[in-house]
Amino acid sequence: MKRDATAVGAHARPDVALRLAAIRAGERAAIARAITAIENDIASARALSAALAADAGRAHVVGVTGPPGAGKSTLINALLAEFAARGRRIAVVAIDPSSPITGGAVLGDRVRMHAAGAAESVFIRSLASRGHAGGLAKATRRIVDLLDAAGFDAIVVETVGAGQSDVGIAALADTSVVVCPPGLGDDVQAIKAGILEIADVLVVNKGDQPAADRTEQELRDMLRLRAHRPGWAVRVLRTVATTGDGVPALVDALDAHATDAGRGRRLARAPAPPAATAVESRLRGFCAADPYQRLNALEFVESGPGTVTMRMRVAPQHLNFNGKCHGGAIFTLADSAFGVAANAYGVVAAGIDTHTTFQVAVSEGDVLTARSLEVSRNAKIAVYRVDVTRGDGTVVASFTGTVFMTRRPHQARPDDLRP
């Protein structure tokens, strides 16, 4: 406790060096305060993140995802007890959904985690998703980097648990655990196209229920049909989180995967995007050369690494027969922010799939802003998420899109395309 008291004194001073030392020393209060700064995008947090970047890459980042009711939180509780028994220091980042209407959230995972959470070797932080899709909160990656630098042996990230959409975890975690409740039945069909594919370890929790046998068999069958990643055969395990049965074997599997796949995977992903300024002028050029964007009076606002922001004022031509903004107009804005961002890498990116949810009606005169974020990218496929917000900050639509990265360079320089 005395250490923590010192830490509070430390972060009261705007002295980055002192705070760095406190975080590296694993001081609870200093870590917690730095997470708040990152989560709220406070300017000083950027310097801190940058300074800590070199320390990251030591911790084993374990993502835990799965459909609601699978028992993720109870399983994490049991994992914490097992990790503690093996003398490891663990941080948990648990993400809960924010209301799309009010932005409020109840971070209730504590309800199930508090037994293990009381241990000194455990640090638990809940984050609200704040409208971020993919089952994670926007700042999750930077927070994981911070906890990594703070010296935790493992960092467990629990996703929102909304099901298929929680694939964002694969880009962040070294090891992805997908938790399934027994008796998924038809649901296995439904989710296997989504989150099951990111699993390094599949867990059938509540393994003492009668349906567990069948579920385990279904998962094994499914794996047989699937192409394996070289070097690692996906493991299927059975646990009863409430009693701890099967949890030691799960930790063994996590350790084996960490040995096999290494740590700090998130740090090695995707080359850094090209410098912003040069890219931005090219992207502005794309927009200026886009007749459909002009038709809809879209405006390019700014771009950054993996992100593009565009704006549209809802005019009479955007309305539907109900007098509200047409969904197609909102889609056009989101799709443009997505398409422009995906084309920042010098090759033609072709959209192959999108999904949009409309959450709030939009009226004439509203100014809509679409901001795209790159969720993941490899040589062939990139995934983007776009939030469309109204002037008051309300998220009115959420969009996800996937592009295929062709090898074709853009045929002409944008300047040449200008009318």
């Binding site: 109840v106 209730g108 309800v111 199930r112």
Partner: protein, 560 residues
């Protein structure tokens, strides 16, 4: 000029109704929609058109006969009024005994015992924060403590209500006391008031709870053992009070209570017990709010539904199995901290609703309950309120005096329909046990609680002194929290730890081992082992701790 006079006598009820409706609309203009707390729309007038006279026998009938709408006994309050049961408990066993003697001397006719929150939570007094001991109930941890609590009370003739959640240690301590005093267990009467473990999961998280499967098993053991050994004891009180206090509407509260009772009876039947062996000892415990007519209709509808279920679901033949016996407590949720003396008026209105609803036993809240645990002064007024209603107000001259009221009969029918619809939802979810496990019940209660608070905050529901008719008050006039005498409590604690240390360790260990073995043996009776442990000198905390280890502790299944 005089207006032309209408025809003096309308030709038919229908015509008169149309004429009234026209005049009503013309005078009142845009009528406001009125709904009761259960969400049932309430019309401005009820007439013969709202009830079907052909259904008198099926829906209303006579007291003491199916459908039991008008009461479970032929004589009802004209014959015997109701048990005046004031729930009390504060401080040390000696302080409790002094308070109990005072209440019994003022017209109280039965014992009730509320233990300290530390007891509710399954701990002995040496396991919790000392500041909290005895602030909300009596600190009773052993058979010796119970003997002090009940000194001077004839257990063979006085009905005792124990606020005693699973594993029912207080009853075990009382039985140990009775045996020492030579009282035959077969003469002992009373109720295990907090035996409804499901309600503790969904609503009132005050109690020690075993994990759901363990709690389920021990309740069946308890019912079976009491039926055999203490046949006049009511081992089960199904509690609607918890859900309604937690925010359920009166209709939801009645529905969840009946659904829980159905679950418990199903469990007993599944364990091989005969319905007519245990149903006569089922009792109910409800909150009665200030929504006057709604509460009356709630009780009338509940009585009707239970009698029907008992006959149709389990084929019970004994009329005692059909009777819906209930204790009611005036609702603390309606009481206000502001202008606390106003609460006397609220409690009076609530109590009358309960009486007209046909209750068998009544607790009236003290006016200062929204400020603190009640003071002795507040408790006295609560008792006097009952005495006035019973003996001055002529409320008991006629059985079911509101029976036949167009409004009350129509509302009873509507409440019944609403309650049955909610019960059907629970049944569809697999019964009450599953509906609690899945959080369905908690979610509904949470939503209703928020809706009710929002209505008050928006001023749609007036609460005098809170959102209307506020006055500047002299805060010093409010009573202080009665706290147990710290010196007495410290002495009580000291004596307890000293006694604990000098007990014959082997006998205690053997009895606790008996509890543990019973918990792991499906053929044993856990409650029998608890009684044996109480007699062997085991403490409350030791018995609860043993079961906590053996069958698991139950966390609240809370839903925001």
């Amino acid at each position: 000029m005089n207006k032309p006079l209408p025809e003096p006598i309308p030709a038919s009820t229908e015509e008169a109704h149309v004429r009234w409706a026209a005049e009503y609309s013309a005078q009142i203009g845009a009528d406001r929609a009125v709904h009761n707390r259960s969400g049932i729309p309430v019309r401005p007038l009820y007439t013969p058109l709202d009830v079907d006279p052909a259904r008198f026998d099926a829906d209303v009938g006579f007291p003491g006969q199916p459908p039991y709408t008008r009461g479970i006994y032929a004589t009802m309050h004209r014959g015997r009024t109701w048990t005046q049961r004031q729930l009390i408990g504060l401080g040390t066993p000696a302080a409790y005994n002094a308070r109990l003697t005072d209440i019994l001397g003022q017209g109280g006719t039965a014992v009730s015992l509320i233990p300290c929150n530390s007891v509710f939570r399954g701990y002995d007094m040496d396991e919790v924060d000392e500041e909290l001991l005895g602030t909300c109930g009596v600190v009773a941890n052993s058979a010796d403590h119970m003997a002090t609590c009940l000194a001077g009370v004839d257990l063979a003739t006085t009905s005792c209500a124990m606020n005693d959640p699973s594993p029912f240690t207080l009853l075990a301590f009382m039985l140990a006391t009775a045996k020492r005093n030579g009282v035959d267990w077969r003469t002992i009467s009373g109720t295990s008031n907090q035996s409804d473990y499901l309600s503790h999961y969904v609503a009132n998280h005050m109690f020690f709870r075993l994990a759901l499967p363990g709690a389920r098993r021990i309740l069946v053991d308890h019912i079976r053992w009491c039926n055999e050994h203490v046949p006049r004891w009511n081992p089960l009180s199904v509690v609607g009070q918890h859900t309604q206090q937690a925010g359920a509407t009166p209709a939801e509260s009645m529905a969840f209570t009946l659904a829980a009772a159905v679950q418990y009876a199903d469990d007993c039947v599944a364990a091989g017990m005969s319905p007519d062996a245990f149903l006569p000892r089922f009792t109910f415990f409800f909150d009665v709010s200030i929504s006057f007519f709604e509460e009356i209709a709630k009780f009338r509808a509940g009585r009707r539904i239970w009698a029907r279920i008992a006959r149709e679901r389990w084929g019970a033949r004994d009329p005692r199995s059909w009777r819906f016996k209930f204790h009611a407590q005036t609702s603390g949720v309606d009481l206000t901290r502001q202008q606390p003396l106003n609460n006397i008026a609220r409690v009076t209105a609530q109590a009358i609703a309960g009486i007209f609803g046909g209750l068998q036993s009544l607790h009236t809240d003290a006016y200062d309950e929204a400020l603190s645990c009640p003071t002795q002064f507040g408790a006295r007024i609560a008792v006097a309120t009952q005495n006035i209603l019973r003996e001055e107000a002529h409320l008991t001259d006629v059985i079911d005096p509101l029976g036949g009221s167009y409004y009350v009969e129509a509302l009873t029918n509507e409440m019944e329909a609403r309650v049955l619809a909610i019960m059907a939802d629970v049944e569809a979810a697999g019964g009450m046990y599953r509906a609690v496990e899945s959080g369905l019940v908690q979610r509904r209660i949470g939503e209703s609680a928020c809706r009710f608070q929002e209505r008050i905050d928006r001023g749609e529901q007036t609460v005098v002194g809170v959102n209307a008719y506020q006055v500047d008050e002299d805060a010093s006039a409010r009573p202080a929290l009665p706290k147990p005498d710290p010196a007495e409590m410290r002495a009580h604690l000291g004596a307890f730890t000293a006694w604990k240390a000098q007990r014959p360790a082997q006998a205690v260990a053997a009895a606790l081992d008996g509890v543990a073995r019973a918990a792991n043996d499906g053929d044993a009776n856990v409650f029998a082992a608890v009684v044996a442990a109480a007699e062997a000198g085991c403490t409350h905390g030791e018995i609860c701790g043993t079961l906590r280890r053996e069958v698991g502790f139950g966390m609240p299944l809370t839903v925001v």
